[in-house]
Amino acid sequence: MNQIEIKGITKVFGETTALKNVTLTIEPNKIYGLLGRNGAGKTTLLNLMTNKIFPTSGEILIDGQNVLENDQALSQIYCIAETNLYPENMKVKSAFDWTKKFYPDFDRGYADMLAHKFGLDTSKKIKSLSAGYNSIFKMIIALSCQVKILLLDEPVLGLDANHRDLFYKELLSNYSAHPKTIIISTHLIEEAADLLEDVIIIKEGEVLLVDQVENLLSKGYTLSGVASLVDEYIKDKNVLAQSSFGGLKTAYLLDESARVNLPQGLEISKLDLQQMFIHLTNV
């Protein structure tokens, strides 16, 4: 088991309430997407899970144990943070050696293999790495730790398209070989969507929805056609947003009811995760 229970978590920073009474259960061995706009509270939530900061109220349990000052629970979890916590003058390979001291299961051979694949020179100092290689360096450590829970906060920041593709593939082969709970927080929803099994969307510090990606996508669709027909069809449905263009109207729906008896002149098309996210989190 490597289940995470987040129970009634509130986090206040001075005047700002970053998270408001968040309750969530993260099921073991699934890949989750944690989505939210800038400032929604994603990083705060991840930092609370790894006990980097303390909640104002509420608790977080890993396999039933509170994470507060709990080395045993925290040794099962690794979080890629935006900020670099390694000494800047340290070389990449010494960082690998040091990580092994904190995470005894750290797989050095695998880390070196990944460094080679991504073209990361392990004799370089961490401070001399470019933004992209800094992300790669942190991601290699995360994948090599062999922990049960991986929290990836913007893992592909600064990576070029080729390295992002390689990262997604390495993440999936790592996950297949060693199933673990993975939470990915990213703004690049479109390219990460197919990797995710479940998705958590947070908005202004509150959980907006938690669902299986496939289930969510099956509920969402775009409807377009003559405005009067669209209006008639959507009047008893859950509409996320709508836009007009001359006499035509497009509606974005998140609705479970069957799409039967579609009047002629109306067209249904797909609403993908990114579009859905935009309509759900627009103010």
Partner: protein, 122 residues
């Protein structure tokens, strides 16, 4: 790449259809092994649970079968079963939509028949 991100079909359905096309084309002959869910997941960057769901659709239809400890194989007679399935779907996916579009354009039944005749001669 089998994935079409603008398609309304779920990824696992697209995967199953892609695999059936590959079997029909002879890319995966009967009684040979097909890629594992891990290989499919990594190659096409999809969640392994999605890949497994797509493969299981084909196992349920007896198009693939599992050889214990070895992996997934194409069943003998799979090609014939896929053809049968596709023929059944032909009406829904082509004929129904053809008639719907024809009605929209006010094309008569006789005119459609003529067009089909023409299609065969050209």
């Amino acid at each position: 790449m089998f994935m079409d991100n603008s398609s309304e079909k779920p990824i696992y359905v697209q995967l199953a259809e892609w695999m059936m096309d590959a079997i029909l084309s002879g890319a995966f002959p009967e009684e040979t092994q097909v890629p594992s869910t891990t290989e499919i997941s990594v190659t096409y960057r999809i969640n392994p649970a999605t890949a497994l769901k797509g493969i299981n659709v084909l196992v349920d239809d007896a198009i693939l079968y599992k050889k214990r400890g070895l992996g997934m194989f194409v069943s003998s007679g799979a090609k014939e079963r896929i053809l049968e399935k596709r023929r059944k779907e032909f009406f829904d996916s082509f004929i129904s939509s053809l008639i719907a579009e024809a009605e929209k354009l006010a094309i008569t039944k006789i005119e459609i028949m003529d067009m089909i005749e023409r299609g065969y001669t050209e």
